[in-house]
Amino acid sequence: MKTPNRTLLAATLLAALSFQAGAQPVIEITKQTTHLIPVSITGFTGEVESVLRFDLSVLGIEASDPAEYIISGKNDGQVEGSLTQAGVARPIFLRAYVGGSARSQAHAFANDIARELRQTSPIFQTKIAFRLSRGGSTEVGMSDYDGYNLVVLTHDNALVEAPSWFPGGRALLYTSWMTRNSVQIFEHSLATGARRLFAGYPGLNCSAEVSPDGRKAALILSKGGSPNLYVCDSDGGHLKQLTHTRDEDSSPCWSADSREICFVCRSGRAVLQKISADGGSPVPLHVSGVYGNQTAPDWSPDGGKIAFTAGSGNFSICVVPAGGGEAERLVAGEDPCWAPNSRTLIFTQRRSGKKVLCLLDVPTKHVKDVRQISGSCSEPSWAR
């Protein structure tokens, strides 16, 4: 009920800015996207303060001088806070948060600040799933986007890989070795905890990804004699083979409109290809500026970019326009996955024998580690 007022206010202020300053706002908006925004954060304590600092830092909004914006408030009982432009008396907004935990109140406040300063959709109350290796076993872990509130979803004491979300986060698909002699895909409902076999064909069944519209799933099966790309309905039915290559295909991901699939094809080296979800011939994605293998693609939810991993061993996270072109090498790491805001990536870095999850603000190349969880974390999938 309060949101429309705030949106109206923001829109009106923006309109007023445009009216006042003529061509200047264009420069202003570009700056707002790509530079680190210095802010001051005052009045908060303990967990609320650290959540605020972490969340904002993930989007390149950092506590430093001279501050362009002042974030102030308090957290005795409930979080109350305001966002004010430096040198301006009246706050952009002033709000109090009720219900939930102190952490979730702080996340909600940070979401409101991010909406104003970065014009992106909120991500601080979203979930991630990942592969969690501890000792000899691997399980599916799920947590808040920052690594807090970990829930270990499986207890199979078997290998597991590639958790991925159904749109809206109602269920996960993952690849499991739980039956020992086969590698199958299971659907795991988060509401009930029940799971069912999603794909159990002879040979390898892996890397299932549900389309953003929730109607189809792309997956890799080897029943035809080589690991190839298939598509099926999101209940597992109506299976259709899309590729027929002798060398293996891997790592499918979906376009925002659910009409195309980007995947990895090894022909000499691993390259990215695109194919219509209805079938037809795969088309190479033209990627310049990087050498070596191109693997683990993820298509941004806004449809504009594809993040992927370049290299073999010395991996780097790269982003290329979805239509192809010059790839930008961003940071060392592998296996990127987009946040719902199409701005933040979560990915894996290898550090002294284990894998850790990191967050990357793509425009500013600012990297933050997700909270350290004991064990090795990899293959992150962001609920969106």
Binding site: K2, N5, R6, L9, A16, Q20, A89, R90, F93, L94, R95, A96, Y97, V98, G99, G100, S104, Q105, Q125, V151, T154, H155, D156, E161, M178, R180, N181, V183, F186, L190, G193, A194, R195, R196, L197, G200, Y201, G203, L204, S207, I220, S222, K223, G224, G225, S226, P227, L239, H244, R246, D247, E248, D249, S250, S251, R266, N293, A296, G313, E379
Partner: protein, 203 residues
């Protein structure tokens, strides 16, 4: 800027009035509880409720451009789904090694597979599992598919030597089961492999 401030203050005031916050200028944003999902029904080694096997299991040993099709009802599956023994040592010396990022059988490995093929010609009630593995220089989903392709290449090579491919099952472990933990070519070369496991009816 002056006009903007006046305008902004006016709008802000109107919004705050609309929000009903006269004395305390803070609107309330209720946080929906972020519930932890219920724990899954833990069934170690089991599938859980609602399990259903895909009905459309192809029964084929077709040769296609991509390889030789896998069969749910072949000798391998018959053995593996019944009482059986597994021997990891029998073909230990015949472990098949691969080039980096490749799945083709190297000439140096051909003799090993000839020995394995000869064994199966003389032991017609046995089956084989080929376990495909990779080194650490690939991303996880990529390695999983590459490991399976390597296992399938071994299967295909044995089929070409006369072994019924439906006596051979494959499984990929990607990089999850290295035999060497080093980060150098010596370790990588040992990890890029196909392990051969003999499956026999329970004695």
């Amino acid at each position: 800027m002056k006009n903007l401030n006046v305008f902004g203050i006016f709008i802000l005031g109107a919004a705050l009035l609309a929000a009903g916050c006269h004395r305390k200028p803070a609107s309330l944003t209720p946080i929906p509880g972020m519930e932890a999902p219920p724990q899954p029904q833990t069934q170690t080694g089991g599938i859980g409720s609602g399990a259903a096997v895909n009905p459309e299991m192809p029964v084929t040993t077709e040769r296609t451009p991509e390889g030789i099709g896998l069969n749910a009802n072949g000798k391998y599956n018959e053995l593996i789904n019944g009482p059986h023994d597994e021997d990891r040592d029998k073909f230990k010396a015949d472990t098949v090694y691969f080039e980096f990022d490749k799945s083709a059988i190297k000439p140096s490995e051909e003799g090993k597979l000839q020995d394995v093929a000869n064994y199966f010609k003389n032991n017609t009630s046995d089956a084989l599992r080929v376990e495909g593995n990779c080194d650490e220089r690939g991303t996880e989903k990529y390695n999983l598919a590459l490991g399976e392709r390597r296992a399938l290449s071994v299967r295909e090579y044995l089929a070409n030597l006369g072994v019924d491919p439906q006596r051979i099952g494959t499984i990929s472990y990607g990089f999850s089961k290295p035999v060497e933990s080093g980060h150098n070519e010596a370790a990588w070369a040992k990890n890029r492999r196909g392990d051969l496991v003999l499956i026999t009816p329970k004695k």
